[in-house]
Amino acid sequence: MNSRRISPFHEIGVYIGKCFRIFINEKGWMSFFGALLIVFIIAQVSGEKTFAQFSATRSGAFAIVCGCIWIGIFNSIQSVCRERAIIKREYRTGLRIPSYVLAHFFYEGIICLIQSILVTAMFIGIRGIPGATLLFSPVIGLFITFFLTIFAADILGVLISCIVKNETAAMTAMPFVLIIQIVMCGIIFKLDGIAAYVANATISKWSVVSICVIANINSMGDALSDYKEDYLFTERHLLMCWMMLAGFILLYLALSMIMLRMIDKDKR
């Protein structure tokens, strides 16, 4: 019987279409201006010395990463939970949860792609082009980092949105997630022991590191030897950062599908 129905492939198409129609009808592109504004402010505040001095580059990278995570989570944190009752209904009449989550995944991916182009252009436009070629030119390198950061945060937002039952709960959960990303990335505090391990599970740590690597922070005059190991200017190191971010994206995606299945247990 199932086979006579719409294929998962077409199902994803239907829901991507829905996402984009709602994006247009809700004037979702307004969020692009928000993203530009955030990056403009961060780029101004982070100052001239970003990409020139070790500590300024680290804090500049940290600031822009926080901005990216904010942009990403904010994109999606309400997207699923606000139509939870509708999804339950659709699930009970045959919608496949993986198709639904994947549709959001692709839709959010395109939104994040546009946002990361804007973020890269704005940031480089103000702060200039850092470092030297590693795998790709620094511009492409930064763009990839920004994209993976925003996208990972965005899918984390989808995951939260799949878990909570309504928008209020989502907006309550959001600050906690942001605080963890900010505190645990190892820039504000030097992390030791368990905290250092926990830091490996944050998006922020790996994006800050990859920006610092691309900026070739170890070559800067005031580089601290304590940190040299963290920011090795090698292709392998940069790739590892990116792989971690991509891994988070896939992990959050899988978890979203699992968590949203629980919708079946929702009570009135």
């Binding site: 199932n2 239907v14 279409g17 129609r21 009449t93």
Partner: protein, 442 residues
């Protein structure tokens, strides 16, 4: 009925007789398009759903379901509507008086289980067609349906047009529906048994909070109860994955995406719910047809958030109807509609039911259009255990006599609590209905 088999010898208006083996519950009524009762008659004096025969204890009972012309036992006594009459061997029941309709009805026969073919009772009329004509039965989805427990199908000459055996019925048997609240188990519904035939449109009535929505959710497997819900041969709970495509449900709250347009909402619903092989043009045709049917053509390009309450309700109905469900459940579809619109909506639903669907509607304004419904389910919350019970299930005229009132609003008033402006007699009618179901001739 131990060791004995019961059959009905059916006599049609044109004088044909045939044998109908009994097993379980069977309804009798007029043969009209889409009226899929078990035993159909071509007589003009027979109501749409005239009566039914059901087993209870050791025997079978016949009950007149509030028919217009009544049912008579052995040519004399007219049966009270809704009161089961215990059938004994040889009893002759006519649908309408024998004088008026020429003896349309049946004779009740029991015989030893191993005796398959011998008719042990005199025929009511000699069959003009003694050679066994092939009975025109609906092709059965499941052979067991046509011959339950190995009983052979009607073996005598059958009247070609009048046999209408075993259309899929919806059989609801809910022991209870409970929810867990902390450490406490709360019972919401208890002992609900109904059988709804194909083509029937049934209204669900009851005070606010009686459990109407809960019942509907339980029947369609959305929020399950303890019990069994069977449609034809299919257990809805066990085979939910296939059944869900045949069930349409319009919930009390509209579940629509506010920032999508009417047309796109419907087009996506068509894509999701219609079989995959449906062509794009067929799908578009269906969308336009449903838009027209529910009067939403002019709103086609509007955003859902811009629709009025009634328009939104109609869109909710359209979204479900587009898949052409066999079982259609609507929770207060007429809320927010004015009288004329609610009437035309009910007429549309009647038309859908007549295509051989089962429709169940919860409504708070039943009287405007009660003539379009076949039956009513009356749910009442008992004051004793605070649980929703069945206070009545049957025809609408039957409900009037059962509740001794002349409107459905009056019925609801009977069972509502005094602080809800009612008579507070829910427990009285719950008991009365229980007694009625247990049988007893009086």
């Amino acid at each position: 009925m131990m060791g004995r088999r019961a059959v009905l010898l059916i006599t049609d208006a044109v004088g044909h007789t045939y044998e109908y083996p009994l097993s379980g519950h069977s309804t009798l009524g007029r043969n009209t398009l889409g009226n899929n009762i078990d035993i159909g008659f071509n007589g003009g004096g027979v109501s749409r759903t005239h009566g039914d025969v059901f087993p209870h204890g050791d025997g079978y009972y016949y009950r007149d379901l509030g028919s217009r012309n009544g049912s008579y036992v052995n040519g004399a006594r007219r049966l009270n509507p809704m009161e089961p009459y215990g059938l004994t061997h040889g009893d002759m029941i006519t649908l309408g008086s024998a004088a008026a309709n020429g003896g349309v009805g049946f004779r009740f026969i029991t015989r030893a289980a191993n005796d398959v073919n011998r008719v042990s009772a005199p025929r009511m009329q000699p069959s003009p067609n003694p050679a066994p004509a092939a009975p025109r039965m609906q092709p059965s989805r499941n052979p067991a349906a046509a011959s339950p427990q190995g009983t052979p199908p009607p073996s005598h000459g059958s009247s070609p047009a009048s046999v209408n055996v075993r259309a899929p019925k919806l059989k609801v048997n809910i022991a209870e529906r409970t929810v867990q609240k902390g450490f406490k188990k709360i019972t919401l519904l208890k002992d609900i048994r109904l059988t709804i035939a194909q083509g029937e449109m049934v209204m669900v009535l009851g005070g606010s909070g009686a459990g109407k929505t809960t019942l509907m959710n339980a029947i369609m497997g959305y929020e399950r109860a303890t019990g069994r819900i069977v449609f034809g041969q299919t257990d809805i709970y066990k085979e939910y994955s296939t059944m869900k495509y045949r069930i349409g449900y319009v919930p009390q709250q509209d579940l629509l995406r506010a920032k999508d347009t009417v047309y796109d909402t419907l087009r996506n619903a068509a894509k999701m719910k219609m079989p995959a092989r449906t062509s794009e043009s067929e799908r578009r045709r269906r969308v336009l047809e449903v838009l027209k049917l529910l009067g939403l053509q002019r709103e086609s390009a509007a955003l859902v958030s811009k629709l009025s309450g009634g328009q939104r309700k109609r869109l909710s109905i359209a979204v479900e109807y587009i898949a052409d469900p066999s079982l259609f459940f609507l929770d207060e579809p007429d809320s927010g509609l004015d009288g004329a619109m609610s009437k035309s909506l009910t007429q549309q639903l009647r038309g859908i039911a007549d295509q051989g669907k089962i429709i169940m509607v919860i409504t708070h304004s039943p009287d405007r259009v009660s003539g379009l419904y076949d039956k009513a389910v009356i749910l009442a919350k008992s004051a004793v255990d605070n649980v929703g019970h069945l206070a009545y299930f049957g025809s609408i005229p039957g409900a009037f006599s059962f509740f001794e009132t002349n409107s459905l609003e009056g019925v609801v008033k009977r069972i509502n609590r005094a602080d809800e402006g009612g008579d507070g007699k829910s427990d009285f009618y719950i008991e009365k209905y229980k007694k009625l179901q247990r049988g007893g001739n009086e």
